[in-house]
Symmetry: C2
Subunit: 261 residues, 2 copies
């Protein structure tokens, strides 16, 4: 009943009508991606409120001067991100969720770098050693092959938060100690052209040993959060194996899971 007296088509009013999208066909960035970005922005800024219908894909493609598959590709990417829901016979609407921003997988790029303010890193060890059996198995290389071992202490507000131990195939990357203290390991890997793709993680807990207690400024027996991770690049080759220990009193993993049907 809430319709405009439009003519050509039964044009249900949609919050989208007000928006105009600026698509640049000369740009190297794909059209579907430009559209997706602008839609995402509109959702974030609340121009498209949760529950709003997006208007059907055909009209949308006509209005934008795009083909329907291209519009679908844009919408699909936002559905994958969890920002939109499609319902056959109904339409596409903005998801009813207060959780809008933290959809990306964090904790893979620097665990703390982005979270705590002013994190610092002290590199305790950075050298090449032959791989132990455990490390070799995790990295899929021969036992005894050369790897870089890295031990770092991560602090925020002058207090230690985590002790990080990482192993990387020696040939992979030059690890400058100085840069490691100002940049995260993953950022360095990305800069070196290594594109991370997936990681297998195990998160557990245990009581602090005497040594760990000293290192992290905790009492012996305090609860610690532990994490073991093997990270893979986009070809599926293991590029990093890490064994981290966090002070549970000062850190927790926070992440978003997406269930794919």
């Amino acid at each position: 009943m809430a319709r405009t007296g439009d003519s050509t088509r039964t044009a249900t009013v949609s919050a989208l009508d007000a928006l105009d999208f600026a698509l640049d066909r000369g740009s190297p960035v794909p059209l579907y991606y430009q559209l997706a970005q602008q839609l995402e922005e509109a959702i974030e800024h609340g121009v498209l409120a949760p529950g709003n219908l997006l208007g059907n894909e055909i009209d949308l493609s006509v209005r934008l001067g795009l083909s329907r598959p291209t519009v679908r590709q844009a919408i699909q990417s936002l559905v994958d991100k969890g920002l939109l829901v499609r319902r056959r016979g109904v339409g596409t609407q903005v998801v009813h969720s207060q959780v809008k921003r933290p959809l990306e997988l964090s904790s893979l790029y620097d665990d703390l770098e982005s979270a705590g303010q002013g994190p610092t890193t002290r590199v305790l060890r950075n050298e090449r050693i032959p791989a132990s059996a455990e490390v070799a198995a995790a990295l899929g290389i021969a036992e005894g092959a050369e790897v870089v071992v890295l031990e770092r202490l991560r602090c925020t507000h002058g207090q230690p938060v985590a002790f990080l131990c990482n192993y990387l195939p020696a040939a992979l990357l030059e690890l400058d100690t100085e840069r490691l203290e100002t940049t995260g390991l993953y950022r360095m890997m990305r800069t070196a052209g290594i594109t991370l793709h997936s990681a297998r993680q195990t998160v557990g807990a245990r009581s602090a040993t005497a040594e760990e207690a000293v290192r992290l400024d905790e009492k012996e027996g305090a609860a610690l959060l532990t994490m073991r991770r093997t990270a893979y690049d986009d070809t599926g080759r293991p590029v990093e194996y890490g064994s981290h220990v966090y002070r549970a009193s000062r850190y927790a993993f926070d992440f978003q899971l997406l269930v794919r049907p």
Copy 2:
């Protein structure tokens, strides 16, 4: 140099040539999905080994009697799963990874149900109460609105593993205590037509209180793994809020992260 003396086209040999795919156009299951499933199976069974090229999409579509977009859709779904990698100018190859199976997000459907053998659940509490401020905030409902509170003790091999406390909007679902003891909560929700879509989790650790120690058969002060989670359905509405405590000596979270560019 390793080519067949084929004619029509420069047909690079691919492990795929040997396979034949059975596509059923009468089936209600989409063609791209049928193809994706059979490709995935071939990869899992090792018919397509890591590093194998898939052969170009055009040839593949011709061989299968499909259009290229359809073939691409199938391949794309496996790329999304992390089983394949595409490289422009090179081709599509099977990922170099030993991690093949645990790509799905587990730990969202029953944390232990699938892992530990013979898990049992004892429902300690199952009643309707007014929502506390914390629960109301997590579920996006009014404080004091009716919610179901669930307390369960999960055991394997006769030993307690976790204490699970969950809150659900009361109108959402009928929770039969008896069925809860044999089925996971998420399975019950799925059966009730609630399709989970995403979840926000916080994983931490702390020392066991005296009460928790008794409940979980640990010593007071032992390290425990904690998890708080809000789960959302496919419209983004919160459908469950949980606060779980695991015995760190007997359980760890194990999961796979996928990085989307």
